[in-house]
Structures are given as C-alpha cells and as structure tokens.
Symmetry: C2
Subunit: 338 residues, 2 copies
C-alpha cells in the first residue's frame, strides 16, 4: 500500500498538505491555478484518498452493510442489485453479511458493526430472530438500520415491504377461484412479520369465502430442507390432503414440487401450488409456477435511497416510515384448472 498520498503530492508541488487537501475538494480557499496544478498531478499519479484516514477523521465512512439471511435466492440477490445500483450512484460502498437464518450470527455481525465500520445498515431479519436487543443497541450507537421485507416492528426506523397481507389474500383467493376447497399454507417462521401477514391474508381469504380454516393444513416449516420435505410429504400423503398449497416463500414451493414428484401427485390436477417468488425460471418449470412476484430490485433501491438520504444529512435517527410496494400475482400452470 505504498500509494501516493497528500504528503507526496504536497512535496512534489511545493505546497502544504492542507492546501493540497483543500484543492482536491475544490475549496474556495484555494486559487484556481493552484487547484489545476494539484488536480493535474493527482490525476497523473493516480491519487486515491485513503478511505481509512478519511473515515477516521470525518467519523463516517461512506460504507453501508447489507445483512440478509441468504444470498442464493433470487429475491435477495435482486434486492442487493437494487441497493448496489443506488450505492454506486451515490458513491457508497457495500459490505455484505449473511446470517444463514442464524440468530447468533446475526447478533455477532451487528456487534461487530458497532465499532463504526459502516454508517448504516440495510437488513432483512433472520427467521429465528425473536429478540431485538442487538438491533436496539446498534441504533443506540447511532448506526441507523433500514429494514426491507423481513422487517422488525420494534425498532423505530424506515421499513420497506410489499403488501404481504394483500399478496396472501390474492394468492389464496386465486386458489379459491380455481375451485380449491382445502387450501394449505406453508409458513417459514412464527415470528417473521411477513410470514404472519401472508398467513393473515390467507385466513382472510378463507373467511371471506366461508371456508373454515383447517388447522392441520398450516405447515410450519423450518430452515431444514429435509425436515420441510418430510413435513410436507406427511401432509400430502395423509388422509384428506390439501388440494392446494400457498407457500410463504419460494424454497418451500420447490420442496413441494419435489415431494409431488416422489408421491406422483400431479400439479395442478391434484394439487395447486402458488408462492411468493422471484424465480427467473418460474415460467419454464413443470408445471410453470404461479407466483406472487415482489419488486425485489425496487425494494432494495427504496431502502438504500432512504438510508443514504439520512446519512448524507448526518441524521442517524430515521423516523418510522413504512413503504409498501405492490407485488403482482402471476398466474401460471401450477394453479390452472384442468
């Protein structure tokens, strides 16, 4: 790291370090001709200011952290894309942390960030996060958090989600309209707000159409794929199996497809499937997967915009605000009446 610094530029130009620093930041205190000389040499020597020195001095870092449960998932990678697009534009840097749905990892990551490595955080909760002390602590250290999708109501800040209740309602009504009578719901978490909202939408749809919810049709899934596989298999091979399942997340729909393959259950004839999903190959699946598609990219953009807006103004407290973007139902083969 023996790269050019202000000192070297100053010596070369016979100027003081302060003058060079100010010239590069286009201060009015510096004469035009000097500015030009400085900028020319800086360019020639490919000067890049040392970000650590700068962050230390200014006590802020033009860096944010994204904390998400996983990355091999279209929703989250699209959201990252959205965040990154704004970050690149605003000249911010993006650190990425994965919790792998593990509360302890989430806590560790957050603790680490208390040191001031980042100016702010954009995050989506791990599915087994039930306590929020670590998040309170972070905001107490003046590091703002903006939540997207898997938000935390306990923290006063900005939150970006889609209309999950509406989505759950629409998905379930779509199934009802397509003649399903015994509709199951596959959930991922008891605590996650989005999961609850989706389930409430589901229940509301049943209620609206005078279908009384069958308690055994709600499959509480976990982070273990094999576990989920077995649970779903049990339900689908039991007596009085559902004729449709609305899955809270894409991963569960995949598992449902796999179980159906093993059990030779035909989708959509015997079982209709719909889920929240951003799969790019949903339309090429067998059968093509009906989905509630979230504007993942826009959600990322929105969350990032809000965060940067506050960081740029040195506001470390972000008031409560709930941005709700619309998701859209894309009906495909998996819910088709045959």
């Amino acid at each position: 790291m023996d790269s050019t610094n202000l000192k070297m530029l100053a010596k070369e130009l016979n100027l003081s370090i302060s003058t060079v620093s100010k010239a590069l930041r286009d201060s009015h205190e510096i004469g035009e001709s000097t500015k030009k000389r400085v900028i020319a040499l800086a360019k020639k020597l490919n000067y890049q200011p040392n970000p650590h020195a700068s962050s230390l001095r200014k006590q802020k870092s033009k860096t944010i952290a994204i904390i998400i449960p996983e990355i091999a998932n279209n929703f989250f990678s699209l959201a990252i894309n959205g965040i990154e697009s704004i970050a690149q534009e605003k000249d911010y840097h993006v650190l990425i942390y994965l919790t792998h749905e593990d509360y302890n990892k989430e806590v560790n990551i957050i603790k680490h960030l208390q040191g001031g490595r980042v100016g702010g955080v954009i995050m989506s909760l791990s599915s087994d996060t039930k306590k929020f002390d670590h998040l309170h602590e972070l905001t107490a250290h003046n590091i703002p958090i903006v939540f997207f999708d898997r938000i935390c109501h306990e923290i006063e800040t900005a939150k970006v989600t889609t209309d999950d209740f509406q989505g759950g309602l629409a998905a379930t009504e779509h199934l009802i309209i397509n003649h399903c009578k015994n509709i199951g719901f596959a959930s991922i978490s008891d605590t996650l707000s989005i999961d609850n909202k989706r389930m409430q939408g589901y229940l509301e749809a049943l209620n609206k159409h005078n279908i009384k919810p069958n308690k055994s049709s709600v499959v509480k899934c976990t982070n273990s794929d094999t576990n989920n596989y077995n649970k779903i298999k049990k339900i689908l091979s039991g007596k009085n199996p559902p004729d449709a399942i609305f899955a809270s997340i894409e991963k569960l729909a995949i598992t449902i497809y796999e179980v159906c393959e093993e059990l030779k259950i035909k989708i959509p004839e015997q079982l209709k499937v719909i889920c929240f999903s951003n799969l790019s190959t949903a339309h090429l699946m067998k059968p093509s997967l009906s989905a509630i598609k979230q504007p993942a990219f826009e959600m990322g953009k929105e969350a990032a915009s809000i965060l940067f807006k506050h960081l740029d103004k040195n506001r470390t407290f972000i008031p409560n605000e709930h941005i709700i973007l619309k998701s859209t139902l894309v009906a495909r083969g998996s819910t088709l009446i045959k």
Copy 2:
C-alpha cells in the same frame, strides 16, 4: 458514533491507552490481573475497536472486495456464499461490487480500490474486458487479486476455475452419444477464457467424433437478452437448424428454452440443450435441464482461502497457481433420446 474507545477505558481503569490496547490484544507485556480488569470493562462497555483507526495504523484492513459481473445468478451467489463462509471464519469483511458486464464500471471500481480500502480482491472478469491495465495497476499498488471462473491470464496470481475444456468436451460428447449430428455452441464472449476453453472442448469433441464443425452453428451472444433471443431464433428457424445446442452459460439456455417455446420446437425431441449451470430448479424445468454443474461454493471457498492465506502473511504478491476443480455433468430431460 460516540462508542467507547481506548481512551475511555484507560481513564476508567486509571491506565494508559497503550496498556489497555496491549491488554486487549493479550500482549505478554501486561500482567494477568490487569488484563482481566481491562477485558472485563471492555466487555461490560461493549468495546469494539474502531476499524478505521486500526486499518489506518496497521496499513491493512481485514476487508476484501468481491468484484463480479452480476449477482442474480446462482453461480455467482453460491461463489459469494463460499467466499463469505471463509471470510466469516477468518474474521474478514466482504465488500461487493457489480460490474454488470461493463468494462468501464470494472475500471472505476478497481481504481477506487487503489486507495487501500481493501487488502485484496476476488474477482471474475466482465465479459467485455479486453484490456487489463487496471488490474496490473492494482497489483502494482500491492493489492492482490485472486480470480475465479472468469480469470485473467495476463496477471500473475492464483486462479480458480473448473475444468472448462473437459466440461465442454463432456457436454458435447454427451450430445453426440445422444445422436446429435449438428451441434451448436452458444458463446458469451470472444475474450473470456472460460468461454474459449468450453468452445475448444466442444470443437475437440466434434473432431474426435469426426464431425466437421459447422461455422454457422456457433452463436456469438452478447449481454443483451433480446439480442441473444433474436440471434438464437434466427438460427433455429433458419434452414438446417442445429439438433442440439451447448450453451456456455445458463442464461443462454434459458433464452433457448424461451425461443423454443415461441417456435414450438420440442426439447429434447427436436433440439437437445445442455449448458454450464448451477440453477437450483434445473431438475424441475420443462424439460429438466441437463447441465455441467460447477462447484461454485467450493470455488469461492478456494479463492478466498488462497487470498486470506497470503494476506495473513502480509504477502501482497501471489505467485501463479491454477486450481482446477471438477465440474460434473448432470444428464436430464433436455438431452434425453425420445
């Protein structure tokens, strides 16, 4: 950012800053009882060292950058997963940058990193990168780069790929064995080494089986999906269309599926398709997609391990080394003889 720092700890404990600093890093210069006192208070006050100060002083940052063309792609997100798993273990932080296959963005990102924000870089080239000055410059600034998948031969360093030639050979032979006579190749880039290698494997397979390569069967694709769509459509609707296509990357196979849907070409009956892919839903597609599957997660892990090994030893120069991991052919419906 008014978090506890060494000064506060020192004052509280009636010790000097140096003593506290040394105690926290378990220096032999400090007595056991003092160490305990310091550590206890640090824990109580939730002390996190300021990473900027530390990086500035030590002239290294426990941070690396991942530079990749895109993220909404299973291969790259799995690779990130692999990198992150090692980073978390080694207590490194990971910055992420996307080039969106744009050479100019790649150059800008690299230039930015010259300031010393990161200790090293793990990257996969953009598909339109033909010049490598920016990369040479970065290594000249003592910031090592480890390449994975889309590697750059011009830079002397470690590179992690799969056996792309073998993969191309295997994929093509698989098609030949399945009675294909007129096999096309869909490429993404003239310059990308992996693409070339895969194509060479393809050509070698043809040669080995005495099939003379049909020049018009090599589709040179770009970064524009619609462009690719049209090119593929043209070939498939022209006269003497291929009876199989081997696509260099997954995205192109998706496009082929889409074109076939429009043209009502049946896969695999009329056209067999195989590609390099890490799609998690390949087995659920219609038809299920035959693929050369790369060990993306392991590639990321490997690249990260090599980089961290050097960084931990303060070696900024990484000697040439080419790690070649095995990819595996997974034959599925899209190449089945019917």
